[in-house]
């Protein structure tokens, strides 16, 4: 554990909130997995399970006014940024009550009002957008930061490189968070990326670059806290590499022939939720019972989101042409 934790009540509240968010992501996605299998959720669905500490650790330092850009694997970022799970589930169900009125689906969930600038179906595309959000903040001198979440595959996209260079020369309040989950679909980061330590790439744009255990929400949170402080002070962008892992297939339907169950188990045995839970148990800040209550309340929230989604109206076919333009 890289941060020393004082068990005062504020800190306890903070940890509990992180735990709750991580658990919400986990339970939400476990349920989405089932809903997808039952074909009630359609399209492409990419699950974030295993990586919860990254989104939650980073976002624990943000306010609603801050921005994040996300990826095809966006549920975790949404929940960490505070997007309502009811709206999210309804969105995956394709209903009018969804976060995006059923028009976006899993790959395009967004809630601009909360600074969540969108999951994205295009690998790497969020990076320039985060730069734009950072520019906007800098121009207004509002102190908002913009976080760009992306994974190891995206690191080799030209747009990400361009974005990092621009953020650096313009000294923008942007934090590039590499979710180094070891794979891009079936392709290992060791094959596709020409450097062993991805943080070298951040340095090649003169950005403070650190590498942390992405399975440890406190380590992530602390690294992000430093980057956020730097950004708010106008000292420019940072790069944080979080080593993490996705437990599920690339998308629902992936047979995962590119790795073994044992490979996955190594990380499952280092689970970020279990880790925080244990830590809090040791600290005396969370009893077994409290955890069970927390979990039950999260499960209830998810269950309610499914009921909400399932009982929501479908959009009317005539709505298909709405929302393309503000004015025609």
């Amino acid at each position: 554990m890289s941060s020393s934790v004082m068990v005062d009540s504020k800190q306890k509240k903070r940890l509990l909130e992180m735990l709750r968010r991580m658990l919400t992501i986990r339970r939400f996605e476990e349920r989405v997995k089932k809903e997808f299998a039952a074909t009630r959720v359609k399209g492409f669905v990419h699950l974030y399970i295993g990586e919860e500490a990254v989104a939650v650790g980073v976002c624990s330092n943000l306010t609603d006014a801050d921005y994040v850009t996300s990826t095809h694997r966006g549920h975790g970022h949404c929940i960490a940024k505070g997007v309502d799970v009811k709206g999210m589930m309804a969105e995956l169900y394709g209903r009018r009550t969804g976060t995006c009125k059923g028009k976006g689906g899993s790959m395009h969930i967004a809630d601009v009002g909360l600074g969540m600038l969108g999951a994205n179906g295009i690998v790497g595309a969020g990076a320039p957008i985060a730069v734009g959000a950072g520019l906007s903040s800098k121009y207004r001198k509002s102190g908002q930061v913009a976080v760009c979440f992306f994974s190891d595959g995206a690191l080799n996209q030209g747009a990400v490189h361009e974005a990092m260079n621009i953020a650096s020369i313009w000294k923008l309040p942007v934090i590039f968070v590499l979710e180094n989950n070891q794979f891009a679909e079936s392709t290992s980061v060791r094959y596709a990326t020409s450097v062993k330590d991805p943080s070298v790439r951040g340095e090649s744009y003169s950005m403070p670059s650190v590498r942390v255990d992405g399975m440890d929400v406190l380590a992530v949170s602390q690294a992000a806290a430093e980057a956020v402080a730097r950004a708010r002070k106008g000292e420019g962008p940072s790069f944080i590499v979080c080593d993490t892992y996705r437990y599920m297939g690339h998308f629902e339907g992936d047979d995962q022939t590119y790795r073994t169950k044992e490979d996955v188990d190594v990380y499952r045995n280092n689970d970020p939720i279990t880790k925080l839970r244990k830590k809090m148990a040791e600290d005396g800040s969370l009893t077994e019972k409290e955890f069970e209550e927390l979990d039950a309340s999260v499960l209830k929230e998810i269950e309610e989101s499914v009921v909400y989604a399932d009982s929501s109206e479908w959009p009317a076919p005539s709505e298909v042409l709405d929302d393309v333009y503000t004015s025609r």
Binding site: K42, G43, F44, E91, G94, R95, G98, C100, G102, K103, G104, G105, M107, H108, N120, G121, I122, V123, G124, G153, A154, N156, Q157, G158, A159, A184, E185, S186, T187, Y191, A192, T193, T257, Y258, W314, P315, A316, P317, S318, E319, V320, L321, V324
Partner: protein
């Protein structure tokens, strides 16, 4: 007979594509395949399954998620003696590799005064119907048909796919090969011979003969048009269904001939409605076949909006059998 039956199988559209590629790779050692996840997965929906084992890592190259980089590598390899097949997973991703396709692959031969050959095949998935939403459901072949210098193949059946891909791999110009993902498991159309065969580019195929109205389609809309034709038949209307198969080159003569015969035209294109293949065909007939026309041209396209996610909305967005039937009936009755 017996022998023919053995040779002609009901392959799926995807199997036919795999077979064409595999047979040509056996024949021609200069063919290499590159793209994301082609080795272990055989590409995201298994188009290249088993290729790594059969042809080795030298000829089956996994790439980073660097489309400009690897499409461009395909261009450079093609210009220097290889015959690369590059997998641009979904056509919706063209924007990250666009320059290498439109400014390099398509133009190199011309800019160099003819003194280059770019035998590059870019294979990419198109089309809706799977709730894949705004960035994984597009057709966009109209964009590539717009750009001079790159041939565009948009097959509708397993039989055509195999024969057209074989041709793509035996000629020396860059080709975009559009594979409609909704058709992957389709076995519609003629059975597929085991041996190689090539279908000439620029030859439309009459998938059904008729006399009252010509319905021009491509990829999935050919099947929708055939269903519509059946429905129209029950209403006493005889529809001819013409499958363009390649849109660059496009078989203008076949379109004009058919309209000359029927006097009426409906064009069905799953691409966005503005500046698409439907408007292209309509403009062709309105300028070069105007006097054959007895009634206004009917156009059925996707709607003028990004593809929506919700199945309810996507259905409203896409062309459908019903929309084609209505358009054809209007064409016939407005005469």
């Amino acid at each position: 007979m017996q022998q023919v039956d053995q040779q002609q199988r009901n392959l799926t559209f995807l199997q036919a594509i795999t077979e064409a590629l595999s047979q040509e790779m056996e024949r021609d050692k200069s063919i290499v395949v590159m793209g994301e996840d082609v080795r272990i997965w055989g590409g995201v929906f298994g188009r290249f399954k088993g290729f790594r084992e059969k042809f080795g890592d030298d000829r089956v190259l996994d790439t980073p998620i660097s489309e400009a980089g690897f499409v461009g590598a395909g261009v450079g390899a093609a210009a220097t003696g290889l015959r690369p097949v590059v997998d641009l997973m979904f056509v919706d991703f063209f924007g990250v590799a666009g320059d290498q396709i439109v400014n390099q692959a398509a133009k190199m031969k011309y800019m160099f005064g003819g003194k280059a050959k770019i035998p590059l095949v870019i294979i990419t998935m198109i089309g809706g119907g799977l709730s894949a939403a705004a960035q994984h459901s597009e057709c966009l072949y109209s964009v590539f048909a717009h750009i001079p210098g790159i041939k565009c193949v948009v097959p509708s059946t397993a039989y055509d796919a195999k024969g057209l891909l074989t041709t793509a791999l035996r000629q020396d110009d860059p080709v975009m090969f559009f594979e409609h993902k909704f058709l992957h498991s389709s076995t519609e159309g003629r059975p597929v011979p085991k041996e190689s065969y090539a279908i000439q580019f620029g030859k439309a195929d009459i998938k059904r003969e008729g006399t009252d109205v010509t319905i021009v389609g491509l990829a999935r809309t050919v099947h929708q048009s055939l269903e519509a034709a059946q429905e129209l038949q029950t209403q006493g209307i005889s529809a001819e269904v013409l499958d363009l198969r390649t849109i660059v080159p496009m078989d203008e003569q076949a379109i004009l001939d058919s309209v000359k015969k029927t006097g009426r035209l409906v064009v069905v294109d799953e691409d966005y409605p503005r500046c698409n293949i439907a408007t292209d065909v309509a403009a062709l007939v309105a300028s070069k076949g105007f006097n054959y026309l007895d009634s206004p041209i009917g156009i059925v396209s996707s709607l003028d909006t990004p593809p929506p996610f919700s199945p309810v909305l996507e259905e409203a967005f896409l062309p459908s059998v019903e929309k084609i039937v209505q358009s054809a009936k209007a064409a016939v009755h407005r005469t």
